[in-house]
Amino acid sequence: METILVIDDELFMRRLCDDMLALRGFKVLTAENAKEGLARLEKGGIDVVLLDIMMPDLTGIEFLPVIKKTDPSISVIIMTAYASLETAIEALKKGAYDYIRKPFRPHELYHAVDKATGRRRVELENRRLLHALQGKVKELTTLNRVGKFIHSLLEVDRLLEQVVLSIAAVMGVEIVSIMLVEGETGDMTIRAATGLPEEVVTTTRQKVGNGIAGWVAEKGEPLLIQDIEKDSRISKRASDAKYRTKSLLSVPLLGRDGALGVINVNRKSSGETFTEHDLELLTTFSSQTAVALENAALHSRVRDFNGAVEEKVRQATAELAQQNTDLDRANAVLRENYLHTLGSLVATLEARDGYTRNHSERVTRLAALIAAEVGFSEAQISTLWVAGMLHDLGKVGVPDEILNNGDRLSPEQRLVMERHPEIGARIVEPIPFLQGVKEVILQHEERHDGSGYPRKLKGEAILPEARVLAVADTYDAMISRRQYQGRILSHQDVVAELQRVAGSQLDPESVTGLCRLDQAMVEALYAGVAPGSEPSRGLTGVQEPPDEAPEPLPSPEVAAAPAPPSGNGQETVPCRCSNCQAAFRVRAAVIPAGGARIRCPRCGQAIPVRSPLEAPAPLPS
């Protein structure tokens, strides 16, 4: 049953209330003034207060806030002989729950007290619920913290890599390493570094207490060595002659329970030795990093959490972290494998048809150059690069007899051929990272005037990447075709033809982009990728030594450099390839007196060329 406190200066009223309430089973306490009442209240356990308004030391109205302050959930019932409306309102405003007028009848008192205790019970229940809720919140907060802990563990390597780079940049040093104490062995290993050999990063283990870093970790004190050769604290064995490090700094990463590890920096880019100022700077870095590590709950917090559960969490998160790293790498590998597989498909496809050999690579590179010329962003060029390599992927679904038939296709065969953008798009459809690429593949045969396929898109409705790709594709088809039509189409011929269809078949802006490209550049691009002209392969077995050899041999290979603009004072010699009949020019200056061999920029055939000073002019172009 609830406890009722009666505060009244009249003994009679106190006795009356006491008797009446005790009869109802309440526990009753009394006080004859505010001061005594407060002392009672402060002992706690009071549920309801019956409060007289007119008391000599303090009126009930004045005392009300004091009661509410000790416990806001206590219900206060005002008792007054002067029950004016104003007094009642004033009391209720100040937080009284109810009032009764003196003299009162027993049932009036019972009614008011029952209501008040009822309210009190609800109040207490709410409080209990709130408490339970708060416990839940705390639990959730802990879970959340564990979540963050997992997250931060995943982030820790990235964080440390960032710290390493920041230190290198801010302090102007070349070698930075962060070593952390491992939980199981207590050894320190390198968790992030720059400027160190691979083998050092992966194999270094340092016992706390051993070596420079070990000393710093053990003592928890920074170490500034201006000249390692002269420093008496360091044994000669520790001096690392291999990296010519004379001056170095090592500071501890201090956590709440001691060193988490150390940060080492060696070698200022300026060549100067380290100073106290550098030490301060690095100490600032280390304290920030230590806080970040503590937050990441890598070390002491794990130990603070009670025992085995946390150890399990740690293991699980470490596994998660490993899995995450593995996943990142696996994703990169997977992505590359996808592209590699698709690229192999394209290569197989190109091998089926002589003229399309390396077509995709040439088209891609040309398209990227045009794209850059017309102002594509880096990201667009990236998309274009992948799309270009895969744009004809769908032709794997086209039978040989159609693929090799060039322009002489029956209407039925043409329909089959024209499905290749859709087939290609469908092949890359399930691959999430190729979604941007998919649409470009699908649209690369659309035409500016809507006469293309498969969806007859027009103008701006076609993706810019697909528009550029169409121009490069058309250029390549025309330039390559010259080889088997027995007719030589020059770059200018092709460009003129493309300009003619700009605005109808092709996107005018992309054609303009192509026209603005340096002709020599486009031709060199073709020289670099044309079948058989891969220079290293083309040169296998040729034994001319480079210039660096002390004794140069005669008849060196010289470059079939594109002819520079005329009038720049550089004489060139015209040549014609004995194999593919391509015409090109060589700078006279690069041909030594004894003559040289030159590689055809189109087919890679090595052909002899003589110096213009001693020989009749070679074949005119």
Partner: protein, 289 residues
């Protein structure tokens, strides 16, 4: 950077971005530093610079590579290679570079596979396509990507763009490895490499910038820029240099009266001729990196 170079640079970063996670074969030379800059821009922490550590690379250049990677805020690793264990390489045939690069690219390929990098990229550029570069074959065999070829950068453009980007390497001379000082057929030894390195360091201390010490076993032949020949032959200096070279192990010290053919190394000359004329009548440009 003019509009043309900017466009090419976008092709370069766009291409590297399409690859995502890449290993950059990074020597600290003009070309690979430029590629690394673009790689950091396009791939951020997805780019990892890897520098081969070999007895044929002077320690000074290794240190420079480390400093440059730090400057570019690139993740960087040094990777020891074992070409000195390869009899084919040590015998020093004319395609020695092939064996060295094969060793390098096998290691890089393993690292890429182990850590999930999409590709290894190198600094081969458009001008290199026309040269005698047996090393390129090794790269081609391993599927190495040459983004500078794909973005159509010539050596001169790389230097110009590097200058515009504030790269300190823009006018760095070519720095072929120390094995190139050995005539073909003369076996490469660690001891010989160290001797060449020390000998060239001595000449550098005397203020010569463009120089080679050709290694003929116990004989050294010094090449310096023709304009600097008189300075080398000053009585006191000549004697001091000869004594210092003897101290590092050479019995005979000779000076090449033709001097070092410097034309191919001058940035402005290269810039004026798109690289091709940088080759001299002697043949193709020297091997790099």
């Amino acid at each position: 950077m003019d509009a043309n170079l900017q466009a090419k640079y976008r092709v370069l970063t766009g291409r590297l971005g399409a690859l995502g996670r890449i290993l950059v074969a990074f020597s600290g030379g003009v070309d690979s530093t430029f590629v690394l800059k673009a790689a950091v821009e396009a791939c951020g922490p997805g780019a990892l610079a890897v520098t081969a550590v070999s007895p044929a690379v002077p320690a000074r250049e290794q240190e420079e590579a480390v400093a440059l990677a730090a400057l570019l805020q690139a993740r960087h690793r040094l990777l020891p290679t074992a070409e000195m264990d390869d009899a084919n390489y040590v015998a020093n045939p004319t395609n020695r570079c092939y064996f060295c690069k094969r060793e390098l690219h096998v290691h890089l390929g393993r690292l890429a596979a182990a850590e999930g990098y999409a590709a290894v990229v190198d600094g081969v550029n458009r001008d290199d396509l026309h040269d005698w570069r047996p090393g390129r074959q090794a790269a081609a065999e391993r599927g190495v990507v040459s983004p500078l070829v794909e973005a159509d950068f010539t050596k001169a453009e790389i230097r110009a763009a590097s200058q515009a980007l504030g790269l300190p390497t823009w006018d760095k001379p070519a720095m072929p490895c120390l094995a190139s000082r050995f005539p073909y057929g003369t076996p490469i030894t660690v001891e010989g490499l160290r001797r060449v390195e020390r000998a060239e360091a001595i000449l550098r201390e005397h203020g010569f910038r463009e120089l080679r010490v050709r290694h003929f076993g116990e004989a050294a032949r010094i090449e310096v820029a023709p304009a600097e020949l008189p300075r080398l032959l000053e009585p006191n200096r000549g004697a001091a240099v000869a004594a210092a070279l003897r101290a590092v192990g050479y019995r005979t010290v000779a000076v090449d009266p033709e001097g070092f053919r410097s034309g191919k190394l001058n940035a402005h000359l290269v810039a004026g001729t798109r690289g091709a004329a940088a080759r001299t009548a002697g043949g193709a440009a020297e091997p790099r990196e």
